[in-house]
Symmetry: C2
Subunit: 212 residues, 2 copies
DNA sequence: TGCAACTGACTGACCGGTCAGTTATTAACA
DNA sequence: TGTTAATAACTGACCGGTCAGTCAGTTGCA
């Protein structure tokens, strides 16, 4: 814990600054966030921040790109880890994973920030759209196709199925973070994921009377 | 069309200012929005705005309260219009109505603004929570209870059911507004609502093998 | 000793809120 | 019905505070 008051660690600075920026941006919003506060939180002066990022906007961009990279990475891991011969089980696992991960406010901070700021930064929205949403949609679509081919699922509209699967996750995230009230019960993410899967997957399965 | 350059219409001003404020807030975000721009859009000078609202914050509050009132009002109308003896049909009607209404960017502007600003205005989030979300949840819960009592639905976790029903609507709204891409297909809200209802309600129904 | 990392005072633009002054409207009176 | 006084809606220049970005100077390190 003996730390000189000032250290020179150019290698670590960018990440430290981005961590601080994410915290301040989510607390204050991008427009109201002060670069000085970001600097202080990163243990630096404002001037030093500008050695690593040319502007406040650049920090937001870097932040979003970093977050998108992490999402894409974990999406890959999920697909790799899911049972390819059992689409239902794969969906359950993915739902569980996504809901559990997003239940950590630290992890969901970046997506929530995007949700908040996207309306004012169209190019940021576009970036997230192509690098996160589209990636997820493609993965889901593949799983669906497999499930339909194998008769596990009905041939429903894939866009509707997508919304039915990801929507509840978003709703849960919003309810437990933005619109959370001190009093209300905190659902275990795993249990909630299973309950959601129970409803949605049941709805995707063929019903007895159906001509498939 | 002969209009004097300045008119005195104190009756109409507050609403006109709120309309302008909603437009500017959704375009720029609350923090980045300039009161001057709101005034200009309302056809007034900045000073006049402050004759009707004590501060920029007050405009945001008034806006949210107005929007919440509208939502509560239309929720009442929905419940009144829905068939009380057929929960499934009632849900279909409600989903259709909500999705159609929220597909109008002008209508969804206020909810999207709340979604964007809520993280930085806890009291605003709390207000929306009690005056919009809770109202909706109570209505849904009543419908569920009716459906379960009558054997139309399984006795699933009501919180999960809630997320499963409202989540896809939110997802659809976000995809068609914030994350919309010029190229992609614009789904008819009615058709999408039916597709969603088809999946979710099917998932809520008892399955042949189930006990109870 | 030299250089790169870092500091923090400083600048200039911007914007919420104010207020002295202007103008539309109404009221009162001739 | 035209004239004028009184009122309140409205204007826009201005003030004070804030903050992104700069840069001359300082410090840690090889």
């Amino acid at each position: 814990m003996i730390r000189p008051k000032r250290q020179r660690r150019p290698e670590d600075r960018p990440d430290e600054i981005l961590d601080a920026a994410l915290a301040v941006f989510t607390e204050q919003g991008f427009a109201a966030a002060r670069v000085d506060d970001i600097a202080k939180r990163a243990g630096l002066s404002k001037g030093a921040v500008y050695l690593y990022f040319p502007s406040k906007d650049a920090m937001l961009n870097a932040l979003v790109e970093q977050s998108a990279g992490l999402v894409a990475q974990s999406a890959e891991r999920m697909v790799a880890a899911s049972a390819p011969d059992d689409p239902e089980q794969a969906f359950r696992a993915v739902l569980r994973m996504v809901l559990t991960v997003l239940s950590d406010p630290e992890v969901s901070a970046a997506p929530r920030l995007v949700l908040s700021e996207a309306p004012r930064f169209p190019e940021l929205a576009a970036y997230y759209r192509t690098h996160v949403i589209d990636i997820g949609q493609r993965a889901f679509r593949a799983l669906f196709a497999a499930g339909i081919a194998r008769g596990t699922f009905r041939a429903v509209d894939p866009d509707a199925a997508m919304r039915t699967l990801m929507g509840p996750v978003i709703a849960h995230m919003l309810l437990t973070t933005v619109f959370n009230r001190p009093g209300d019960p905190d659902h275990d993410p795993g249990v909630m994921a299973d309950a959601l899967a129970d409803i949605v997957l049941n709805g995707l399965k063929p019903r007895p009377g159906d001509a498939s």
